[in-house]
Symmetry: C2
């Protein structure tokens, strides 16, 4: 019984996420979510009580996934600036391929038109990036004048701008291309001994493990 | 008579811009625009035919102002990277103080919920930044590996991210602070002979002329 409730909640979340991505929050109705999920609209109200609450649940689902991702990059062994770069490519991939992540991003972009406060992931990301920069400082990898927390906030803002505008600019470059270019530029300023191309190559090797066996 | 029509159009534009900034596009009605402007709602329909058209007129008004601004920085005399930095602070100032600029930015942020294609300023800005970087290259000021047009797109994306998230992050830093920090970082990577602090200081001297006499 509890399993069935869990499956229903998951089906509703996924249907809602899909519709939010495709047509935005305002144009998505509870009926459409019910139709796509194969559940009744009564089930939507029973489990989430309103479209606002459902949007909030989608965003929270995305946050949980991101927290797992950030934790994965907290493990020791890989140099912190490599982790930072690899993490950014993982997020870019999720923003391209994962419906919950895409829905969260679109809801956030539409936040001003939604009657519930959409929580932002930026404080969590800024904290994670600050920690990685501080580790790089401790390892002697960070350029002297780079201050971890202010720089982390700046990097998070710039990443979001890359994401939000890359889709708008409608050129041949996708987010990964632009991110690649961005790291080659910014690592020159971040690294104590600049070697951006080599670091990005190592980070992408972590990011895309070659199949074994 | 034509002057009166022009004054009416201006009053309607300014009222609309003010309301779009304060409460967003969706929550603003033609009646409110009419009330705030002191004109009849008939005047709104006569001059702009719909709320969508009025939004479009606000965005176009902002574009015209930005084109003037970009042209101002096309004049010779000041080193191109200084112009680029000074221009960014001027835009940051307009985004803070100018109601038409703020309205344009908010309409763009809400573009997915507006039933008319909101034109984007990014191609114009990318072209302007590409030109400045190419001039810096010709003057020997740009680092060897920096490619003007791709880098320009990256800089424009990052600037927008700084703007859009700085308001959300609700810290003590405002956009000018964050922009300052951003240039100190990125100029290290852009300049052939890095001296970011000195360049930003010179750019701000252009940007904020001290009163004479």
């Amino acid at each position: 019984m509890q399993d069935r409730a869990r499956a229903t909640r998951r089906a509703l979340l996924e249907a809602a996420a899909h519709l939010f991505v495709e047509q935005g929050y305002a144009r998505t109705s509870i009926n459409e979510i019910s139709d796509l999920s194969g559940r009744t609209s009564g089930a939507v109200y029973f489990h989430y009580s309103s479209k606002e609450k459902l949007a909030l649940a989608v965003v929270r689902e995305q946050f949980a996934a991101w927290t797992l991702l950030a934790d994965r990059y907290a493990a020791p062994g890989v140099p912190p600036l490599e982790k930072l770069v690899a993490l950014s490519f993982d997020i870019a991939k999720a923003l391209r391929d994962d419906v919950m992540t895409r829905a969260g991003a679109r809801l956030w972009a539409e936040r001003r038109t939604i009657d519930v406060a959409i929580p932002t992931p930026f404080a969590v990301w800024t904290a994670a990036v600050t920690r990685l920069l501080a580790e790089a400082r401790a390892d002697g990898e960070l350029a002297e004048e780079v201050e971890p927390s202010g720089t982390a906030a700046t990097l998070v803002c710039a990443f979001f701008g890359l994401y939000d505008l890359t889709e708008e600019m409608a050129e041949h470059e996708d987010l990964s291309d632009r991110l690649h270019r961005w790291w080659l530029l910014i690592l020159k300023a971040l690294q104590a001994r600049p070697e951006p191309a080599a670091l990005v190559a190592r980070a992408l090797a972590h990011h895309r493990p070659t199949p074994t066996g």
